[in-house]
């Protein structure tokens, strides 16, 4: 996909917005997206699947005064766009007037001008055979790591090239390209008649940003092997250490709790807590959509507001919610540039790069300080009730005894309340890495309920 494609999508967006105004809308905003996906799957050393295709889509939201209507289509022909615009204008007649509905203030509209490095030509240039070879090598490395690994759910190499364009009736028009590639493998190991699986995954917006196939295979194998011969521990209260992968999942639940929509509706336990101490001093959480090359970065959000960096929690104090224009108006605040949506509909709210700032302690030193506790490597079916803060999840991991990782544990649950868990999150390790838009180093929660035997 090249510059002319971007301009073509921008033109379709501009024309759709203009057409909506012709049909009686007072404002309109249009999103277009186009993507090409590739996926190669290998299992037990043989190619298992190859998938390659592209698709396009458009969505529009119109305002007729304070009433809104939305529609979308996969047909970008002139006729398809016309039908889409008409449908949205018609729908605006059935909705109710909403005093806070509207487009962003003109002063908020804009885009980061610096190159965010979201697109890499080298991904487009990757050869199919090379991608298959990477998946093969990752799986081969995992399969040959240990005799107990004799099966696999396969390895896959995926790549994606995308374009997104957005325009509105307040003069904003913008577009950007993204690319990504990723490699993952899922080995299966067996011991004493019981099987376990785990995985490792690497992904980047740059061709050179992913880990080597051997590294992916080795890490997947090591993770799978350490889950074998798991025991169920006794029900108890104990410290729980979340390694980066599980910490990231827990942090994902926190993004819902600081979402301005939930805050406004009293559907978050953090409603009304702005400026208050809600977490341990060890915890600083940042949302930043401007970090070059990362998955959570964009030049502008999904309603055309300039991307930015927001301190969400500063040493335990709640500094900001994540907001779009609508909920900022509802709450009497300013948007944080976190509007998110698919192609159409009213914008929701989503994080950019949302992460816990690294601490000083090493993960090893953190584990060494625990007499009896759980090191969680997998969360299954985690449920966070953001209204009450109640949190409960199935878990698997390693048991810590006298500062050392010992045997594997599984078929247990960990539970607590997020309000207390944030206060008890008293240690943050130094191992922060960005593997997706949500990132966390290893963290420790002083006490949770572990349910087992």
């Amino acid at each position: 996909m090249n510059e002319p494609d971007l301009k073509q999508l921008e033109q379709i967006a501009s024309r759709a917005v203009a057409r909506a105004l012709d049909l009686g809308a007072t404002d309109a905003e249009c999103t277009l997206a186009e993507g090409e996906e590739f996926s190669a799957g290998v299992r037990m050393r043989e190619v298992e699947s190859l998938k390659q295709a592209g698709s396009r889509g458009a969505g529009i939201r119109v305002l007729a005064g304070r009433n809104t209507g939305s529609s979308r289509t996969s047909d970008l022909s002139e006729k398809g766009i016309e039908e889409m615009v008409r449908s949205a204008v018609d729908l605006a007649r059935v909705t109710t007037e909403d005093p806070h509905a509207g487009l962003p203030d003109p002063a908020d509209l804009g885009a980061i001008q610096a190159d965010l490095k979201l697109y890499d030509d080298a991904i487009e240039a990757m050869e199919t055979d090379w991608k298959i070879a990477q998946a093969r090598l990752a799986e081969e490395t995992a399969l040959s790591a240990d005799p107990r690994i004799s099966n696999s759910e396969g390895a896959s190499f995926d790549s994606y090239l995308g374009v997104r364009a957005f325009g509105n009736s307040r003069g904003f028009i913008g577009s950007y390209r993204t690319s990504s590639c990723g490699l993952s493998v899922v080995p299966v190991a067996k011991s004493n008649g019981h099987m376990e699986r785990d995985y490792w995954h690497t992904a980047s917006r740059r061709a050179s940003g992913i880990e080597s196939a051997e590294e992916v295979g080795r890490r997947a194998a090591a993770r799978t092997l350490r889950r074998l011969d798991a025991r169920k521990v006794a029900t108890q209260k104990a410290p729980v250490i979340f390694e980066p992968r599980t910490a990231r999942a827990l942090l994902g639940d926190l993004t819902d709790a600081v979402n301005g929509s939930a805050i406004y509706k009293h559907a978050s336990f953090l409603t009304g807590k702005l400026g208050e101490k809600i977490a341990s001093e060890a915890l600083t959480v940042i949302d930043d959509s401007t970090m070059p090359g990362l998955f959570g970065s964009t030049p502008f959000d999904d309603e055309g507001v300039t991307s930015r960096r927001t301190v969400v929690i500063d040493r335990g104090v709640l500094k900001s919610y994540l907001l779009n224009t609508y909920f900022a108006r509802k709450l009497g605040l300013k948007t944080t540039g976190n509007a998110a949506r698919g192609l159409s509909g009213n914008a929701g709210i989503g994080p950019g790069n949302f992460y816990i700032e690294a601490g000083e302690i090493t993960e090893g030193a953190m584990i060494a300080g625990v007499r009896q506790g759980l090191y969680v490597t997998e969360l299954i079916g985690a449920t966070a009730n953001n209204v009450t803060g109640d949190y409960s999840s199935g878990a698997a991991g390693l048991w810590i005894e006298n500062g050392e990782l010992t045997y594997a544990v599984s078929e247990i649950t960990i539970a607590g309340n997020l309000k207390q868990m944030l206060m008890d999150l008293n240690q943050v390790a130094s191992n922060l890495e960005f593997r997706g838009s949500i990132a966390s180093p290893t963290i420790m929660i002083q006490e949770m309920t572990i349910s087992g035997r």
């Binding site: 699947s49 295709a53 969505g59 289509t73 996969s74 699986r197 009293h266 299954i380 999840s393 539970a415």
Partner: protein
């Protein structure tokens, strides 16, 4: 109705000759089997929040997926443009999975037998927008009227019609028109100055708007959401550890979906990576348990006249009197396992490769009186509503989270409990089933199953069931 009157033939002028030529292109490099999946999806949704109808949305998606199989290999490509040159291009891309001389496509199609599970009295797109707006407004007022402590209400109504056409290189042709509708209500309640508690309810199925004008009215779902939130206002911490668990009828059937269903999908078993692999004929549950997956029940959310590979759906016995009987097969797994498709090949859209999936999964009723089941428990947990669940099919460990549960003390339901997860191991958990009620109930039609990133609608059901031992993951250790 014959093919010539079907949606894709009449609207896009697609002929049987066209389908044959696309399939030939797909097999031009020697694949063993190819199929085409044409899809046209029209959706609409409407939402109310704070008493304001804030959103109304419509959408149209269209495309075709081309699949080529050779041995264990799958080639896949799709196009969102139905022009012949774009479909041929996709077919050539999918064909690349094979490397050899072209294979012959059988000429002439035979229309697949199919059920008539969801005759539509009224097509969603023939319904006026005003009637849909009325549904969410009624839900909003009923929820607010239910109890003064309810202070937030959101309701939404979404419906869709999917037109599909499947053509295969072995000469099968099928087409179907698949409706889906769903009404959802979410409320928040609180005591003066207290902590809010949520309540959710919803339902629907392969039905149209008229379904919600009867017993399953907006008021019905609104009252249920309200009741749940009010009950939770008095909830206490859930216990932790192994104990007796009683599941109420209906939606708690999600236990079967997680504990058993996923582990019996043939792709995992063909590869030997499921905790149930190679265990057909073995006792994996108490003799009281018979578990069925049936995609041929009228109007249910998980039902289909034909699956997404053009095979008619059917009633599949997974576990009979505790003994593992069969797997859920799609075309690929059936070819490789020398078995027949069980009508379980499903996909989220034309952009996705089909996989063996569940439809409506439930346990047959037993003989116990539900009241007797609860009275038989001196201390345990009774769960009547769940949020969702997950499973690791390799270890067999599954988790599901209760959104409405009660402590059982001396044979009576006493205090409501705050959310807790239940965890168990698939091939073991059902061995502890000691009583099965005579009150089988299917869920209201809200289930969505996610596998490898593909979302599909499913149903579950279960009678009241007593499980003597299961780990409850509360906070009160």
């Amino acid at each position: 109705m014959g093919f010539s009157q079907s949606f894709f033939a009449s609207r896009f002028g697609i002929t049987e000759r066209d389908l044959e030529s696309y399939l030939s292109e797909a097999l031009s490099a020697g694949g063993e089997y190819a199929d085409l999946y044409f899809e046209y999806l029209a959706t609409s949704s409407i939402g109310i929040d704070e008493g304001i109808v804030k959103s109304a949305s419509q959408g149209v998606e269209l495309g075709v997926g081309v699949r080529v199989l050779i041995g264990e290999r799958t080639g896949y490509a799709y196009s969102d443009d139905l022009s012949p040159d774009k479909i041929r291009k996709a077919a050539r891309v999918a064909a690349r999975i094979a490397k050899g001389p072209s294979s012959i496509v059988k000429t002439g199609f035979e229309e697949a037998r199919k059920h008539n599970l969801y005759p539509m009295l009224q097509s969603p797109h023939e319904t006026g927008l005003a009637e849909r707006v009325d549904l969410v407004k009624r839900a909003d007022s009923a929820a607010r009227a239910y109890d003064k402590r309810i202070f937030q209400v959101q309701a939404s109504y979404a419906d869709s019609v999917r037109e599909v056409l499947v053509a295969t290189s072995d000469g099968r042709l099928s087409f179907d028109r698949q409706p889906m509708a769903r009404l959802n209500v979410t409320v928040l309640a609180r005591e003066e100055g207290g902590v809010p508690q949520p309540g959710h309810a919803g339902g629907g199925g392969r039905v149209a708007l008229d379904f919600f004008l009867g017993e399953k009215s907006p008021e019905y779902f609104a009252r249920e959401a309200g009741r749940q939130a009010i009950v939770q206002l008095g909830a206490v911490e859930s216990p932790a550890g192994e104990m007796t668990v009683v599941l109420g009828p209906g939606w708690p059937g999600i236990l079967l979906h997680e504990a058993v269903g996923h582990g019996l999908e043939a792709d995992f078993n063909r590869k030997g990576v499921s905790a149930f692999s190679g265990r057909i004929g073995q006792q994996v549950a108490s003799p009281l348990c018979t578990v069925i997956d049936d995609g041929s029940i009228g109007s249910r959310r998980g039902s289909l006249n034909v699956d997404d590979e053009g095979t008619p759906t059917q009633r599949n016995v997974l576990i009979e009197n505790g003994v593992l009987r069969g797997y859920l097969q799609d075309q690929l797994a059936a070819r490789l396992m020398k078995s027949a498709s069980t009508g379980s090949g499903r996909r989220e859209s034309y952009q996705q490769i089909p996989m063996p999936r569940m439809t409506n999964t439930f346990m047959l009723a037993g003989e116990s009186d539900p009241g007797d089941i609860v009275r038989s428990v001196s201390r345990g947990v009774y769960c009547s509503a769940f949020g969702g669940g997950s499973v690791d099919i390799t270890s067999g460990n599954f988790v599901f989270s209760a959104t409405e549960s009660y402590l059982i003390e001396d044979g009576k339901l006493t205090r409501p409990l705050r959310g807790a997860s239940l965890i168990g191991n698939g091939p073991e958990a059902l061995k502890y089933v000691s009583m099965v009620g005579n009150d089988l109930k299917l869920d209201e039609g809200v289930g969505t199953c996610v596998k490898e990133g593909q979302n599909i609608p499913v149903g579950v059901g279960i009678p009241t069931v007593k499980i003597d031992r299961m780990t409850v993951g509360g906070t009160a250790a």
